[in-house]
Amino acid sequence: MKKFLTRTALIAAAILSVLIGFELLFRQVPNQYRLKFDFLRSAEAASVEVLFFGSSQSCYGIRPGVFERPAFNLANLSQSVMLDHAIYREFSDRLPGLKTVFLELSYFSLGMDTYAGDAGRKAIYDHYLYGNPFRLLCAYPSFWQSLQHCQEYFIRRQDDVSGSRGQKISHVVIDSSAIPEDARSSAARHLMSYRDNRQVYLDYIDELLAKDIRVVLHSPPSTAAYNRLKDRNQQDRLQQFIGYIASKYPETAVRYHDFSTDADFQRMHFMDSNHLNAEGAVLYTLKLKALSF
């Protein structure tokens, strides 16, 4: 027994040392999550007037620099409205100047589970949002990609924090011929088993309005190839909810605009079937700016 315990402990210690070494390395590399939560913890957050929440469609598609007022993009990949709300609640005391919040209401938003999408990405909120020090960051976005990020950061001096003020810019733009396939897989991924996020939206909006913060709900643009594959029932549920919002809140407090089929957005504005590229993000943010209070 003694031999077994000693050898097991020694091997476990050696393996854990390697794991901790990787962990320390990964924590050195800047990433989108740290950037955003560092901003919220900084003194600069106090002056911010406009915040954008949402999923990857907002994360890639909104460039806060277009606004003249201090604005910041807090959207992230597969970020559900529950996480949007949790982030706001955690940091609302540090945002005294906040006047307008843009909430994404995409095709999939009402059904998106908190833990939809890559679980590794969700795990990271536990670390950055709730401060769990034991959450391993090799989960961002995967161990091998984390190693790649290390290589890029330490050797090539590049990092994942590519945009400005929270916007993420993808350097990967898929070929036009691949759009139909991307639309198909995205539409299938975005077909949600019905989960009622309506109440989360309503609670969140009520909380913002109670603090005299105005709300803009928006559906980001996507390509026709993607729009064609949308599920009718899922679309209807979204439309019903939008109708309900319009009847419940005055337009002076809550506005909504659907850009999903906006003809101004052409193939050149997209990086894939449902995400805008850097150029598209500027155009989209200008349109959102016009909607702002």
Partner: protein, 476 residues
């Protein structure tokens, strides 16, 4: 409690310390530790269903003692019948009740009578019920056959029924194999402990890294099979073959490894089934504890292969159909069983079903002969096509999927990356093909420890990034 959960990582060392350090002097207390731990392990999922395990334990404990004390053969038969009826009744109600009601409704509808099903109930399927009911039944049957003396020690018997490493997904242990181990004092042996840890690591790797990584790709391909060409559909079927294998054999490895840490030896459940050279050999290597259970308690009592060819064929179909049905309340499982019966039949008719029982492929060489490679390839392809029926939601989807596999055939242009997981797995398994208990037992210490490191880091990484998924066989 799932093996692949943080709770289990804390639970296992706690039980280990209590078992070997706090109560090592007293066998009864050690068995009580096993019993309490097993109930905690199961109750973590849903404590309400502990009453079912307890009830099943009580019934079989007293029935077996009554059978042993009874000399009248008719009374013994009645007692056995009551026990079997009780266990199958539990299983039938929780697992098959709604299925039978709905099947009757469908049957009436098909002949023109439209009836609304008012008898369906909201029944939760208790995890592992198919496993522990079969285990307790084997005890009572063995006592009835006078192959086993009933135990008077209730704690030991209850520990046998609920032994946590194998409670929810097997291996389905025989009382004659496990109960004597529970009733005798155990000593910790270094080699057994090391083997146990290796099996746990290997099982975790198979489940967390391979099975859970393949799961979303399989879901995507099977969920949208109409949109993929034949190449991708083949890939999807192969991925599912390895997903279910790694999921289930991973669980068995962790169960066997965990048992070893407590001084117990469980039976092997998987012996590298995808290296089988015909379907007969496949069934000697896949889910061994279930197939041998059906052989001993169903096939042989029905007459086995002793009463002429036609009866043998009937018995083969019965055993495969029941085996398919055991997996779940859906006709797809029955079709899967039927397909395997048809695939098994030729090997039985040419008397090749037991040809490879005692041998291992390429036993003394590094690579298999061309003939053996071809046999392995053909067997794997047949098994893979049969898995489509197992995985699909209904028969028409299975047939459409299989038709898709043979149309527009070409090299798959999507989801190819995961082939790397399968190749890595096969490389390891081929290395240890002669003894499934000796996985990761590389002779060279540097290589061995490097492999430990790689498997551990890969498992921890995937544990974080993959969603924690139930073991597939929990539902059976």
């Amino acid at each position: 409690m799932l093996f692949n959960s943080v709770e289990f990582i804390l639970f296992l060392p706690t039980v280990f310390v209590l078992y070997w350090f706090a109560f090592r002097q007293n066998l009864r207390q050690q068995n009580l530790v096993i019993l309490v731990s097993s109930y905690v392990f199961y109750g973590w999922w849903d404590y309400r269903f502990l009453s079912l395990i307890f009830l099943s334990t009580l019934v079989d404990y007293f029935t077996a003692r009554k059978i042993a004390a009874q000399h009248d053969p008719v009374a013994r038969k009645w007692l056995l019948g009551a026990s079997v009826l009780f266990n199958l009744g539990l299983l039938g109600f929780f697992k098959y009740y709604n299925f039978f009601v709905e099947s009757w409704v469908d049957l009436f509808r098909s002949v023109g009578y439209e009836i609304t099903s008012v008898w369906t109930l909201h029944i939760i399927l208790p995890v592992g019920i198919s496993f522990y009911t079969f285990q307790t039944m084997s005890y009572t049957i063995d006592v009835y056959r006078k192959q086993l003396e009933p135990t008077r020690d209730f704690i030991s018997f209850a520990s046998f029924v609920s032994f946590f490493p194998q409670l929810v997904a097997g291996p389905i242990e025989r009382a004659s194999q496990l109960l004597p181990q529970i009733l005798s004092p155990r000593t910790f042996r270094y080699e057994q402990g090391v083997q146990g840890v290796r099996l746990i690591l290997w099982g975790m790797f198979k489940k967390v890294v391979v099975a859970d990584s393949l799961a979303p790709v399989v879901e995507e391909i099977f969920g949208n099979y109409q949109t993929y060409d034949g190449g991708v559909l083949w890939l999807g079927a192969v991925y599912f073959a390895f997903q279910i294998y790694c999921d289930f054999s991973g669980y068995s490895d962790i169960a066997i490894g965990t048992s070893k840490l407590f001084g117990f030896e469980l039976m092997s459940n998987f012996r590298f089934p995808y290296f089988s050279r015909n379907i007969g050999e496949f069934w000697k290597r896949w889910h061994v504890s279930l197939s041998s259970w059906f052989r001993d308690y169903l096939y042989i009592p029905l007459g086995g292969s002793r009463d002429g060819r036609w009866k043998s064929l009937r018995n083969i179909f019965v055993i495969f159909l029941v085996s398919g049905f055991w997996h779940g309340a859906n006709w797809t499982f029955t079709w899967w069983g039927m397909i395997h019966a048809c695939l098994y039949l030729p090997t039985f008719l040419v008397k090749a079903n037991r040809k490879y029982v005692r041998s291992v492929v390429a036993e003394n060489t590094w690579l298999p002969s061309l003939q053996d490679s071809a046999r392995i390839g053909i067997t794997f392809l047949l098994v893979t096509v049969a898995w489509v029926f197992f995985r699909s939601p209904d028969l028409s989807a299975s047939l459409a999927y299989v038709a898709g596999m043979f149309s527009d055939l070409g090299l798959p242009d999507h989801h190819r990356f995961h082939v790397a997981y399968i190749l890595a797995l096969l490389l390891f398994e081929w290395q240890f093909r002669t003894d499934e208990r000796q996985v990761l037992a590389f002779r060279h210490p540097v290589l061995r420890h490097a492999v430990y490191l790689i498997l551990f880091v890969a498992t921890v990484h995937h544990f974080q990034t993959n969603r924690v998924a139930d073991f597939i066989y929990f539902q059976f």
